[in-house]
């Protein structure tokens, strides 16, 4: 059986996500070991499809971005842009026959904010159903 631990997640996140400071990042890395690669970015609007694609090509079974809540981006429209870029990435994945769900976006919620660790766990749950990515070099 595939355990969550065997999959690798590339997780990009806006630094405004609750509990996503340096210490939280280290704690999460300790908990998940090689299964998680964390990429803090100043704003989710910095994300480009090339980042997600390279992660999926090189090491990740899934690549996600967490943004701040709708309307709460410090730079006004970063999360809105990130959404479009994830859409573009999904389109490329489906064009090459890879499940588009391997790229994803989690938009934070103003009403029920979640921490980086909570969201990471939810994503792992989601991707564990997909299993290892066929686009990665096996072995």
């Amino acid at each position: 059986m595939i355990t969550e631990q065997q999959l690798t997640l590339a997780l990009f996140y806006c630094q405004n996500v609750p509990k996503s400071g340096e210490e939280d990042r280290q704690a999460l890395e300790e908990e998940f070991g090689k299964s998680i690669r964390l990429f803090p970015i100043p704003c989710s609007g910095r994300l480009d499809p090339v980042h997600l694609l390279k992660a999926l090509e090189r090491f990740a079974d899934a690549a996600f971005i967490i943004t701040c809540p709708e309307g709460a981006c410090r730079y006004f429209e970063g999360n809105h842009r990130a959404k479009k870029r994830v859409e573009r990435t999904k389109k490329i994945l489906s064009d090459i026959g890879l499940e588009p769900e391997r790229a994803g976006i989690i938009i934070g919620s103003k009403e029920a904010p979640k921490t980086l660790a909570e969201i990471a766990k939810e994503i792992f749950k989601k991707i564990s159903q997909m299993g290892p990515s066929p686009a990665l070099k096996q072995g």
């Binding site: 480009d48 499809p49 090339v50 694609l53 390279k54 999926l56 090509e57 490329i92 064009d95 090459i96 026959g97 890879l98 066929p134 686009a135 990665l136 070099k137």
Partner: protein
Amino acid sequence: MITAEQKPIDEIRGMIAPYKRILVLGCASCVAECAAGGEKETAMLASALRMAARMEKQEVEIEEKTIDRQCVNEFIVLLDDIIDKYDAILSLGCGAGVQAVGDMFPEIPIIPALNTEFLGETKSQGLWVENCLGCGDCMLYYFGGVCPLARCSKQLFNGPCGGSVNGKCEINPDLDCAWQLIIDRLSTFGALDRLEEVYPPKDWSKKQGSGPRKIIREDQQR
């Protein structure tokens, strides 16, 4: 600049299928500006093609490189040292770039990854519009700096056609009526009298009258 869009990945994969060592070649000029063939887009396409190949267990080597300009020999020669490794080049240059690289390395098959579209302007982020047909005899002076060949749906030289509504084109209401723009502009600088002239139909001989065009400038030559 010259605008272009990437071809569908399926079409590209079909064309590169026979080859085993492919150079995906970007161009950092016009097609980078229109987000079709610059360094980033080249990296994305190469990455997608490598993943696709891996999923189908194909043994192919796909590498990427971007040069400043694919349509100028001084930049293309920079590939001299590496080109022998490859058995095909997948170019993200415009049609002119693809052919220039092909001319420099005639023994290696070259494949276009883009559909080259038009001479355009970056209107806003993510929006490019066609505004010159490269007719070879520019008449923008007479039309207040707005080209009726490229921007009027009917290519009228003696407009407007009478169908424009609220400044929009009757053929396509998404477009500004070029003739409304021409008249507004000429009025602004008090030059409406330029339209008193009746302009004869466009003389296309300067565009395609005698086969492929060429510009020769002796002062620029060696």
